[in-house]
Subunit: 247 residues, 2 copies
DNA sequence: AAGTGGTCTAGACCACTCT
DNA sequence: GAGTGGTCTAGACCACTTG
């Protein structure tokens, strides 16, 4: 029996380049958990002979995955599967006069299981009426409440969160997701809009009802592309600030 | 006399890769106007022998310039110097229910030469008190005023704009800059914030004073990296909408 | 010193675009 | 068919990291 490490040389789909096919194969191996997030992959030389392509081709594949944010290459050390977003900092959208990279203190206000409303279901990518977990979370800097977050999580996946003591949930949610539920957030989309605070929201944020606020609607996805979180964040509009460069 | 087309093989600065050096050389040739925006550059093969490097290395240099948005490669046709931003559409920040890619009608409200205030000078990157041209511009969709823009332009460069009939200025500013003053906008930075409309602003936009508005502060740069425009745009905050993906 | 990713070369062939 | 950029190969050497 042929037990050489060499896999069958990838057969690119017609119209697809070989390095794209290799990249897809590697992506599968990553998603299947062959190299868990944060761990190192085999060397380029070994991967190349493994997939039966030249080194240059293998490198093109890795470059592609790197551009997609799936892996990270460190000169002299190796190629690593990127662990989830350490925390896609909401604070980058706001200027509260906080120190660089300061992590706001978090408090969970409410937690309850529910069924997905049509709107939530659509944005989570699940069927209407599916069970979800809903959190409300207040984030403060220097004792001052700054951000109010409404979070919906698909439930079969996040069952472990239903009963965990609230005190165990740290200030950063994504690392906690990964440690407790094995869910790594790989990608997120933020949509920015604008609204007025409701009376309840204003009270939590120590502002007045009708105060203008920025609304950040986030959808977070895991490696396989499933939406694993819907989060709607409200914060003082006058503290909002964001910068984009176009070319 | 040696008159071969081959240039002296680039000598990369220590700590710099060869392809980076080639890219820098090409960037210079572009900025110097050797290949004007929109025109095609010589073939990769010819550029490679021209700079005395292997084809692969030359391609790495072009890839770098391409990532920087300086050039554009078209399979089977050639490599082209990117012409300026056709118009970095302000409308992408707003949802006015306009059709896709619809260009708002523009009207110049005021035009006057002035000297740069400290703040304007800083953001334009010129000395305080330098002459500038100030425009105020109202942009409408379906007859409805939607965006109010305050624009500052450095004056020696934009002299031609001081006397041109306002009617000659079309709905898109950047192509007009390029045609009239030879200034191509290659890159722009937009900073987003929120504020309240002043009475004058509100009147122009057909809204009420104190109405919440989104403020987009744009700095536009030419190929050489000089700031050639400062623009502050105000629009209804409730029409604001923007989306970012992070990985 | 050994192992990793990064750069560079020289040459072959493929896919697209235009005439 | 001629010219362009895109892919692929095989091999050499460089630069960074670690034991």
């Amino acid at each position: 029996m042929d037990k050489v490490v060499t896999r069958k040389p990838v057969e690119p789909d017609p119209g697809q380049s070989r390095y794209a096919a290799v990249a897809e194969a590697l992506r599968q191996r990553i998603v299947n958990g062959e190299w868990p997030p944060g761990t190192g992959m085999p060397s380029e030389t070994s991967l190349a002979s493994d997939h039966g392509v030249a080194l240059g081709t293998l490198r093109q594949a890795l470059t592609l995955l790197s551009k997609q944010g799936l892996i990270e290459r460190r000169h002299g050390k190796g190629t690593f599967v990127r662990s989830g977003l350490a925390g896609a900092p909401m604070l980058r959208f706001f200027r509260f006069g906080a120190g660089d990279g300061e992590v706001p203190e978090s408090r969970i206000l409410t937690r309850k299981a529910a069924v997905a409303s049509p709107d939530v279901a659509r944005r989570l990518g699940v069927a209407r009426g599916e069970p979800v977990l809903r959190l409300q979370r207040l984030r403060s800097l220097a004792g001052q409440p700054r951000l109010l977050e409404d979070i919906w999580l698909p439930l079969p996946v996040f069952d472990a969160l239903v009963d965990v003591p609230l005190a165990d949930i740290g200030n950063l949610l994504y690392p906690f997701f990964e440690a407790t539920c094995g869910v790594a957030v790989a990608r997120a989309t933020d949509e920015i809009g604008f609204a007025m605070l409701s009376a309840a929201q204003a009270k939590a944020l120590d502002l007045q009802a009708g105060h203008p606020c920025a609304v950040v609607t986030r959808q977070a996805y895991d490696l396989a592309g499933r939406c694993v979180e819907l989060r709607i964040t409200h914060g003082d509009a006058f503290a909002f600030h964001y910068s984009v460069t176009i070319t």
